[in-house]
């Protein structure tokens, strides 16, 4: 027979961006250990609706760990205690009966809370808009194998492209820095031949946008890598630093923009 558990939840409740928020405590009973964290929250919401209360708002979409929507800090760790796991893929068997779980939204100046656990992550979209593209020929699609790319490069770019833009790196960083996100995007595009053409321009533009959005700086402590549900490596931040330094040197002598 499947085990169930009773839990106490401390959830951040905030009506709107402009209202004051506070923690509310809820008891949830008979949570199946096979359910996901979001399913557990669904149970809570159903319960709240039945009682005529407002359900807990949280972002979610694919529920299979690839969309990056489910942003919540569970017991002080973005996406919860399991390594390389999104909140939607986190199963309740990792918690125990009688446990108190604290659920908070991402905390960062550039990510204002919209409602409850939902934050505005559009600053990440604006970083992408400023440089996360390549210029290529429009018209009929180029053959996929027209440009040879070595296995090592393809693997590296794929590791970087695994970033789902969930913002857990920002949430985990004590400086609310978006270096791991930006590093992953820059490493992905700058290492492939299609993206190399605009390498310097992209790097400068994305870092300028990142700073302008109000994210903090990197102190190389590695909490982002530990919290990342896609295990994006700190190597991507080193890559970003390297490409940024190179781009700035080139830009000093001859503007790259």
């Amino acid at each position: 027979m499947e085990k169930t558990m009773d839990l106490t939840l401390k959830v951040w409740r905030q009506k709107s961006a402009n209202s004051m928020g506070a923690f509310e405590t809820y008891a949830v009973k008979d949570v199946s250990e096979g359910s996901s964290f979001l399913e557990m929250l669904d149970t809570l919401s159903e319960d709240l609706v039945e009682k005529g209360k407002e359900p807990v708002a949280f972002d979610h979409d694919c529920r299979e760990g690839i969309c990056g929507s489910c942003s919540m800090t569970i017991n002080g760790i973005p996406h919860g205690p399991e390594k390389a796991t999104t909140a939607c893929q986190l199963h309740m068997r990792h918690f125990h009966d009688g446990q108190t779980i604290t659920i908070e939204p991402w905390r960062a100046k550039p990510f204002p809370v919209i409602k409850d656990l939902v934050v505005d992550r559009s600053p990440l979209d604006r970083i992408i808009q400023s440089g996360g593209f390549i210029t290529s020929r429009a018209g009929s699609a180029v053959d996929a194998n027209a440009i040879p790319i070595s296995k090592a490069t393809a693997d590296y770019a794929m590791d970087a492209a695994a970033c789902i833009g969930c913002g857990a790196c920002v949430a985990a960083c004590p400086n609310a820095s978006a270096m791991l996100f930006t590093g992953a995007k820059v490493s992905h595009m700058n290492s492939l031949p299609q993206g190399k053409v605009e390498k310097d321009r992209r790097t400068l533009a994305m870092v300028t946008t990142m700073d302008g959005e109000g994210f903090g700086g990197c102190t190389n402590i590695g909490e982002c890598e530990a919290a990342c549900p896609k295990s994006i490596s700190l190597d991507m931040i080193a890559h970003l630093n390297r490409d940024y330094a190179t781009a700035q040197v080139k830009n000093f002598f001859k503007p790259v923009a």
Partner: protein, 269 residues
Amino acid sequence: MCTLCNFVQSTIGRKILMALTGLVLVLFVMGHMLGNLQIFLGPDVINGYAYKLHHLLPASALWAVRLVLLGTIAVHLWAAVTLTLDNRKARPQGYLEDKVVQASYSSRTMRMSGIILLAFIIFHIAHFTVRIVPGKQYEEFGVLENTMVPLVKDGEVVMKNGHEIMTFNVNDMMVLGFEVWWVSAFYIIATGLLCMHLTHGFSSMFQSLGLRNGLWRKRLDRVALAYGWIVFLGFAIIPISVMTGFLEKDPTGGLALQITETVAIIGVI
């Protein structure tokens, strides 16, 4: 905005400045430690070394080196302060539960260790370079009438124009300075904090310059740990040796080989 200002004002630009100034300070600290350790080779050697440091370069060049070092600290400090203020601004509201998954203690306390080290550097310069720490002025000890001793090289007094070259008695200054227990304690604690600062900083500077990957991160972390400990032990051993009586004042007051007695003393030896 000019390209250079743009670079220096970006978060990454300031981190690069932090890394480059950090590199200068990391190398300086090792050189300083190796220089200090010459105290174990005898008073003549450390006094001669101090004389060399002061006279190898013309006074203006010596001041240039000093200003570059102070400027390096100033840039390192400026980058740290402005970045910290920006970082605080980026996280106005913290978490109710704030867990650390893997970050090392030293990496999370760089600002505290840095601030205490700054206070230490100011004290250290006032103590041994400018020698103005109240009550701790070497001259006030009155142990020696003359704090200057003849410069000795290879067991012989160095002569110039028929006169002995006199140099500051660094050996006795260090011994007398470290005989004060709280001064020694402060030096040992500060070099311990320097060890902590370096165990993160040494490896971190490679990351900021983009010269690190997963494999080299592990290696550099180990090198950083070793470097930090070597620097700590190399510095702390001097106050410890003084406190335990292993290092002592020059028993002859540095006058063993003074020219009038040279022949007699060499005869005794």
